[in-house]
Symmetry: C2
Subunit: 762 residues, 2 copies
């Protein structure tokens, strides 16, 4: 084994800190009790079909950069192509026409953004039109931190890997003329505008506008900077520009009007909406060229530094190995035994998907753009970005608190940075813009949840102040539109908002519950009482006629006509956003007992909950109801239904196939649901550090706890799952540290401070 | 008078060299024998109509920057608007709709280029569409280095001045909301693409693509960089972007599709084809804001340095005074007495126009872009640009040799720089691009002419090598297409070129004549013989049938049918570019005696020359025939015709009006013709340091010679011109230094080494 050292990123310049790959490798060898490493189970194709919106691109854990095949710009009229629908991913498994590799990408989101800095290797005469230079491809291989294919038209094998902020590709060119293109004129979205400047025969730098997410905020477009370095000097370089066609007499005189223009061997900035660069080679024999693309959201200089510091003089293979090792190191925090190979594959791929977003925003030197103003700030730690909090508060962040508490702590700190800079906690933050996507005020839930799980190394005073601000400020409150009605009436009305008056009320309730829980923990008794009271105001919207939640008008009357089925599959529905009453009514896991009472008791509750599933109102792909299968645990005697529902949902929706996610992964939310569900526990109520217990998929799950946060080294969940092949068995008994445990819920504290949770199925 | 010092530009950083304005002012006071200073006679409106293509913008002598009112983008269908024809100037006198002030502009050229970095002050609600924020204007005032108007719609008085690389404007805003716009989405040409980045509430930086001249070479577009500084911090800043409308479903979902987007208080780069920035103020009382825009063709950093070093903390008024003083200093090199006020006005305005191009390309620190590759080079002296040599070799450069020999020397050095960088002398160089506009190989003519006039402080060896290269290289010769036929047959044929086979032959002849003259001076006898012989090969194209030059076919036969009238007014004509046989036949001033012989002697020659004028074939607006009126001097006894023709051409074509130039000023060529003609001398044959003498317009012309090149302090031309009000008088006698002089030609040497030339009219 070749020994090489990799510099650890460090913003203190004088303090050089190396971690040696060899050490990581040794740790693996010691720890390795698998035939395969966890990283070997990752299948990045999962989620690349059925709107999963993941991509198989090479990425490092929480990387700013990924190198994704880009195959959505081939034929605008096909259903899976960009612009034919609201396509949010650079790659769709079914598509076949590759037009390059994009270097900044989102994974598992519901709106298009990024998907730019597209590279493409070609051979023969230079062609700059992607519809002409695009090609089919074959021999796809995707692993954690690695992607490869062969571009059929040119017989070029492409391999890609990535460090945090740098994409590294290796193009295996045949003999003859070859070209490496960087096309800034095409991307995943309609956003345009770029700059390219060829620095030398081995380097080009550039800027590309990206944004805005969901096309919500035109003013929230911003630049991404990059530097591309090539391992071999090109024989010719240049930039192309495709201007729009001009009208008028002068346009007629302009010989090149509307035609693509080539700037050969040109070394100054080229600016415009549709530009690209080419590096051309004339190879006497088959030759490989490595391309490193460093990225920054601060400046070209930082992009260059990111590239340099992260990749030094390391080869593609060295970087690929290192990134693979980083992935394996993180994935190995959970070891599983038992289950099928597919079980392990979907499990580790899900864990992999939870380690993509939130991702790194700060540069190697610690610089990152501040919220709103995009001023350059410096962090001594991490500034994470891509906080899709309406999604992730339900499952992802509590999982991070359990498995990667340091990362979760850094995420909380990033959220507080955002509060410092913008005056508000994030809702759906993306690269220092607040996209204000979806409803509710979810950040506080995560802050409270994290603290209550014992991750306390952040400024809780500030966190509490921030949570309280959005819960109490009546005017100009971007996080809680309709707050006045909410406080006055207890709910939003059909006049207050056209975007989910009921669901928004529920979201505010959950956040207020979170504030109450944290207030209690911090000894703020008055606040505890106030916010506890507020947290159940959804009860005003419970309509006994339907045994469901129902929107109310401004005057307090019920919204009529009311069809609780309306609203599924993104139908417009006044009371509920992205869902209907069935999909929202039970989303009060902090108050299930009262809901049960309102519905007429346990049996009536179970019956109503059954209806959701039996009448196909349950939507595995959307967040509000993903907790539903666990709610049977609240109905004593019906816990087996949780076990049945969860088992069959896993079987139905999560598979080792490109379509193996139920829909958008929602930056790891669905994946986190799967991980929990396969381990046999699920956080039953956000901001309440409690897990519902269900039947695990694996015989043994070993979680290596982080000793900076937890006293025990490991938490082990065992079961006789391998005897439950047909999912006919149910939990017979539970043992905590060998002692019989009589509840189907277990607190976070009890779990992590115990050593073994044993679940017996029969 | 306020005393203030102005830093002299200096590339040696540690050596600070100040020249004090007060000193310049003192010199004026001592020298001042005028009621008005020369600078006071400059009327920058001359040439702004009738296709003169000058502009009234504020500019420093040979400035990189000018601040020109931009009124050609108001209504695309009007005849004097951009894009309705090949409009080459940012301003047309007849137009009325102002959309801003452009900061890089060409003066007196025949193709559109530059005309960008448009500023516009407005009041009231922000409007970013120039068709909406544009306005009529009034109270125009233009002086050397100063322009002012009032923008009617907003009642804003605008004043502008400039240093070499910085435009300075003063906006007198009323009370209320005011906005200063910089629009990179509109310019004189179809070129697009820019970047804007707001640096602070008093500063914005940017880049704009410009080029290519005449839309000839798509690859010769390049960036101009700028930094704008405002004297008062804005209350709001922002950037706008007008993207093109996207098609497809995604476009429909994009609420702002195709709509102008505002990036408020945004501090990162905005890139694209149609972008602009705004600085908004809320004034409690009428307020002036000064805007300084520094420009560079190297980088934003250099633009910032140019601005800083040139304008320091000086106010608008201080800079305006300084620039005015620089103009006056240069214009005062020629003092005239007698003549009318209009005579002085057209004279000094013409001299002003000869001091605009060639202009400065290098930055304050000496950096400039190299030819072709645009690499950063550094000059210790000046790098001039805008060499429209097919025009300027005829009159401008010899005038510079006489009046501003140091400038002419620097121009020659810049031409040799271009040779060093590109391997070829320039033909029509513009900001380090070779536009290859027009025909012939004119640079050598200027190099020889300059040297032969005694301006020798350049590398004549290199100059000769460069001239010889284009005259002898048979393959891949960009300066002499058709050289093989030229050498083999003595002329280009109708097969060799479709763009003026005869005229190109004549141009090559003249250059070869220039090479011969320099060869002789340098003692290269063999070359002298070879090139002397080549210089008269046009004779092969003299057709006795017409007594004119006529194109020949490849086989040596005459091109038929032949109508010598065809080709005037830009009609297509195989043998002659931009002209016809009448307008070209006499363009052999180095061989007039032989032409006379070919035509059948003196009388026949005079008759034929008369026909040109009498049959309205003479074109004062085009270069090939501007020497014609002086050719009568070669026909002894007919010199009075030169005097008559020149006098009446001055009267007819050169007036103190916007239409007071015969057509394109051609970067000062027409102006130089006028200056010479009004002084009573004209360079009768390029590369032959000889002047034809005609009747002056002024009683006394005093040229202050540059002692670095000439031993005498002054050259004085006197006459009794003021007695010649009706132009009925002719030259009766000429005295050189008091001695009777018997020729109508005088050598440069004799002229500058004599002290007085006295011309008696009767």
């Amino acid at each position: 084994m070749k020994k090489f050292c990799f510099p650890k990123e460090n913003h203190l310049k004088n303090q050089v800190n190396y971690c040696c790959f060899i050490l990581i490798a040794v740790v693996f060898m010691v720890n390795n009790s698998y035939a395969q490493q966890p990283v070997d189970y990752v299948n990045p194709f999962i989620g690349t079909s059925n709107y999963g919106a993941t991509n198989p691109g090479a990425i490092a854990p929480r990387g700013m950069v990924s190198v994704s095949p880009f195959n959505v710009a081939g034929a605008p009229n096909l259903p899976h192509e960009k612009d034919s629908r609201w396509l949010s991913n650079p790659y769709v498994y079914e598509n076949t026409f590759l037009t390059g590799f994009s270097h900044v990408n989102l994974s598992g989101v519901g709106c298009p953004d990024l998907g730019v800095i597209l590279t493409m290797p070609t051979t023969g005469k230079l062609e700059t039109d992607y519809l002409k230079y695009g090609s089919t491809y074959s021999n796809e291989v995707a692993k954690a931190g690695y992607y490869s294919n062969t571009i059929d038209k040119y017989n070029i094998k492409v391999e890609s890997t990535a460090s945090i902020r740098t994409g590294i590709s290796k193009y295996h060119f045949p003999q003859g003329q070859s070209n490496i293109l960087i096309n800034l004129g095409v991307g995943l979205t309609n956003e345009e505008g770029g700059m390219l400047k060829i620095v030398s025969d081995t380097e080009v730098e550039g800027i590309r506008n990206v944004g805005s997410f969901c096309y919500y905020k035109p003013e929230e477009s911003y630049p991404v900077y990059f530097v591309a370095k090539f391992s071999k000097p090109a024989d010719e370089t240049g930039v192309w520009k495709k201007p729009k066609k001009q009208n008028g007499l002068e346009g007629q005189w302009m010989g090149y009007n509307g035609k693509t223009r080539l700037y050969k061997n040109y070394k100054k900035e080229v600016l415009g909406d549709s530009i690209g660069s080419y590096f051309t080679y004339h190879f006497k024999k088959p030759t490989t060229v490595e391309v490193k693309i460093g990225v920054s959201y601060i400046s070209i200089a930082n992009a260059r530094e990111n590239l340099k510091k992260e990749t030094q003089n390391f080869s593609f293979d060295e970087i690929n190995k290192s990134t693979n090792a980083q992935w394996n190191n993180l994935l190995s925090k959970i070891e599983v035994e038992g289950g099928t190979k597919d079980d392990k594959t979907i499990f580790y791929t899900a864990l992999y998907h939870t380690l993509i977003h939130p991702n790194t925003l700060n540069d190697y030197n610690g610089e990152y753009p501040s919220m709103t103003k995009r001023e350059t700030k410096t962090t001594k730690g991490k500034r994470f970005t891509v906080f899709s909090l309406w999604d992730t508060y339900r499952s992802l962040h509590s999982l991070m608190s359990l498995i990667y508490p340091k990362q979760q702590s850094d995420m909380v700190k990033s959220m507080l940075n955002i509060y410092d800079e913008s005056g508000w906690l994030p809702k759906w933050e993306l690269n220092a813009t607040e996209t204000t996507t979806m409803v509710g005020d979810p950040a506080g839930i995560i802050l409270a949840d994290t603290y209550l799980r014992g991750i306390k190394d952040f400024d809780v005073k500030k966190a509490y102040e921030a949570m309280r601000k959005s819960a109490t400020q009546l005017e100009n409150n971007p996080l809680r539109p309709g707050i006045k009605d909410y406080l006055q009436k207890g709910y939003l009305t059909t006049t207050t908002t056209k975007s989910g008056s009921v669901s928004t009320t529920q979201e505010y309730n959950i956040t207020d519950f979170a504030i109450a829980q944290l207030a209690k923990e911090l000894g703020k008794t008055d606040d505890y009482k106030v916010f506890s009271k507020r947290s159940t105001s959804y009860r005003n919207l419970f309509d006994k006629e339907f045994n469901l939640l129902r929107p109310k008008n401004y005057d307090g009357s019920w919204f009529t006509p009311f069809n609780p089925n309306t609203g599924a599959n993104f139908e417009k529905n006044l009371g509920f956003i992205e869902g209907n009453s069935w999909q929202y009514t039970f989303m009060v896991s902090h108050d299930v007992k009262e809901l049960m009472r309102l519905m007429g008791g346990k049996k009536s509750f179970v019956k109503q909950l059954d209806k959701v599933f039996d009448n196909k109102q349950f939507d595995m792909a959307n967040e509000p109801d993903i907790i539903y299968p666990y709610l049977y645990n609240y109905a004593k005697g019906y816990e087996w239904k949780t076990q049945d529902r969860v088992s069959s949902l896993i079987k139905e929706y999560f598979t080792n196939k490109p379509a193996g996610l139920p829909g958008n992964d929602d930056t790891g939310t669905m994946s986190a649901w799967l991980i929990y569900s396969m381990m046999g526990i699920y956080p039953s109520s956000p901001a309440e550090p409690l897990y519902a217990i269900t039947s695990p998929v694996f015989d043994k799950v070993t979680i290596h706890l982080d000793n900076r946060y937890y006293k025990n080294d490991t938490l082990v969940i065992t079961s006789n799952a391998s005897e439950n092949k047909n999912n006919k068995k149910h939990i017979q008994s539970i043992y905590m540290n060998g002692k019989k445990y009589r509840s189907y819920f277990i607190s976070h504290d009890k779990l992590v401070n115990g050593k073994t949770l044993k679940i017996i199925l029969k």
